[in-house]
């Protein structure tokens, strides 16, 4: 009895091995891997969706396979129709599983990104670390362009973002966008791109209010922005023109700390004190670091400059009534009866102070 059951089991398990591969295989040569997407408005209310996917051609002789970017675009009424319409143009199944970048024209972004991001979020095949970006001008043009460094625009962009997240630019991806969008007391931000001949340039940080794009901060301010956004390492900061000499500083570590001093009824109008401790070293200097520009003085000048630039940035954000730095969420973590509406009312006039302390570790290998 037992033996016969065992034999039966073995047979069934062996037969079931034949089932492997029954479930709709997707061979890499027979699918189109969409790596980048772009959305633009077309005429009035129509949508122009563009996708790029790499195609690999065997070039004769060399044996090196050079990828080529294939760009397809369709005009549709709603974002959800794009996939459907694209299928009519493609000879192979379109797979969004390796999506690296999704671009949105600034006009589309101004009308709200959530409906587009939702389709990405819902699909289990799409990574939640997909990069999102706003483009000044047409997204299609960026995707269609030919760039010097990489024939694939998707990889070029993805490398660009990866590099920037490690230096002056804050990290942005779909997860961060959704985190900031759904969080209390914070607003999302994304990189703003522009095509420049053979390259793509990050113009700055696109600011959002809710899911709607409103304005941007120029790239030169991104170090200040990142410093006020969170603790980080790396990045460079150049002293602005108020100092006659040119000095640039490489950041080793920047640490941010929040203090909330309750004020007003129920502590509803608190003083927010952002204190930043930076450690860095001198990377470039136009002359000797002596006298007025000795290391100790330089530290003070730097701290002053960072503080001033930081205040200008915060004031600007307050005027725009957007909170990409997440100051509200930091205040929330200090207050038991925090409410989002009360904070939104208070935010434009909030008393926000910045304290910066800079320590320069060394000045390079010459005096």
């Amino acid at each position: 009895m037992r033996n016969s059951i065992r034999q039966l089991m073995i047979i069934i398990i062996l037969i079931s091995l034949c089932l492997t591969g029954c479930a709709n295989p997707r061979i890499i040569d027979d699918v189109r891997l969409v790596q980048a997407m772009g959305y633009d408005y077309y005429k009035d209310h129509l949508l122009l969706g563009t996708v790029t996917s790499p195609i690999f051609f065997q070039s004769t002789g060399s044996g090196i396979i050079q990828p080529k970017s294939d760009v397809m675009s369709v005009v549709v009424k709603k974002a959800t129709e794009i996939d459907n319409q694209l299928e009519s143009k493609s000879e192979y199944q379109i797979e969004p599983g390796k999506l690296l970048v999704s671009l949105y024209n600034d006009k589309i972004a101004a009308d709200g990104l959530l409906q587009y991001v939702d389709t990405l979020k819902r699909n289990p095949n799409i990574s939640i670390l997909t990069n999102l970006a706003v483009t000044q001008g047409s997204a299609k043009e960026i995707l269609q362009g030919h760039y010097a460094s990489n024939p694939l625009v998707s990889e070029y962009l993805s490398d660009l973002f990866k590099k920037h997240a490690n230096s002056n630019f804050p990290q942005t991806d779909m997860h961060t966008f959704l985190y900031q969008f759904s969080g209390d007391g914070m607003d999302p931000f994304l990189p703003l791109l522009k095509k420049e001949d053979k390259h793509i340039k990050i113009l700055g940080i696109a600011l959002f209010k809710g899911d709607k794009y409103i304005d941007y901060i120029p790239y030169s301010q991104s170090f200040i922005f990142k410093m006020l956004y969170r603790s980080f390492r790396k990045g460079t900061y150049a002293l602005s023109s108020t100092v006659s000499k040119y000095v640039s500083i490489e950041n080793i570590s920047s640490k941010i700390d929040y203090h909330v001093i309750p004020q007003g009824i129920n502590g509803r109008h608190p003083i927010v004190e952002i204190s930043i401790k930076q450690i860095g070293y001198v990377k470039e200097s136009s002359s000797l670091l002596q006298g007025k520009y000795s290391m100790t003085n330089l530290q003070k000048i730097l701290a002053n400059n960072l503080q001033k630039d930081g205040m200008t940035l915060v004031k600007h954000l307050q005027r725009l009534q957007t909170d990409p730095l997440g100051i509200g969420s930091h205040v929330r973590s200090f207050q038991r009866n925090w409410s989002e509406e009360a904070w939104r009312d208070y935010y434009p006039n909030a008393d926000i102070r910045i304290k910066v302390k800079v320590t320069l570790k060394h000045e390079g290998i010459i005096d």
């Binding site: 398990i13 029954c22 289990p124 939640i128």
Partner: protein, 370 residues
Amino acid sequence: MTLEIKENKKVSPYLLYFIIYGNEIGIGIINYQRAITNSAGYDAWLSILIMGLAVFIVMWMTTKLLEEHQGDLITIHKSLFGKWLGGFLSFLLSLYFLTITITVLNTYVLLIQVWVFPTMSYWEISILLSIVAFAYINGGLRSIASISFLSLIFSVPLILAMTAPLSHLHFDNLLPIANHSVPSIFAASKKLSLNYEGISILLLVYPFIKKAGSKDSRKQWVFYATSMTTVGYLVLYLITITYFNPNEVDKYLWPTMTLWKIVDLPFMQRFEYIGITIWIFIILPNICLSLWGSSRIFKSLFSINQRLVVSCFIIFINLTGPFFNNQPRLAIWDKYQSMLGLCEMLVYLPFLYLYNLVYKKMRKNHAKQH
């Protein structure tokens, strides 16, 4: 009434750790974050501690009960409530174990369909799983214990994958601590019952564990397993709530799976496919142990061949399965299952313990009078 199990069918006491752990970690862990955050917000980690403590106490009561009676659930029921009422209660618990199997199997099938193979039919997956489960149950508790052991070994990559989000956590999310009302924190605790339903299997497994030496070490392994799962749930919850925004966790149907999505290895873009595949080893002990428990009660009550009972159950589950192969319907079923589990664990088991105390006292008094 003591229950004697043949020595060659018993397993070593340390395996009890893997059995309890393997049966507790199952289907609840993929989305418990969602339900508890819904009621207690980011303070729900307190609820996990509360529930963990409650389960700990219940486990202590259960082991006391088992030690005293030197038997299993069926003999305890029989000696406390008599043949008919006791038998009926055992029968109800057998059905309870069967519902656990249904929940676990159907949730896993749906998981595969949503994440990996949307076009695969229900039976293609469920029948394969059932065959594997039957093969293990066929080998008796010893082979089920071994799959429980392997389940922990195989889940090591999953635990390692949880380190990927560590550099992106926002610990601010946890402040200010305890900013939610006490009732809402307790309400969240109640929703954790699906995560601990596996503990009831102890009532049937206990006599199968060797005592090993003069000192009975079985109890300690039960407690280790329970504390380990509680710590596991707590850590995973803290990672989830600090990686996602507390407002956002609610929107992900399976937050644990979504956490795997951020693992990005040079040779593998999407880790969650590996995760779901390995998950089969995490739910196998669940399916095997619950089916084994359920069929064992049937066997002792009606003296039927256990293999026959298991086959009937498997056929029954596969036939009813397509009805649950639908997310909203399964969500409703899960809700009832977790309510049922809560009653069984936190109401029925303590009741059994207290009833036993009263019963003992009454018998003593009765004996004194005569």
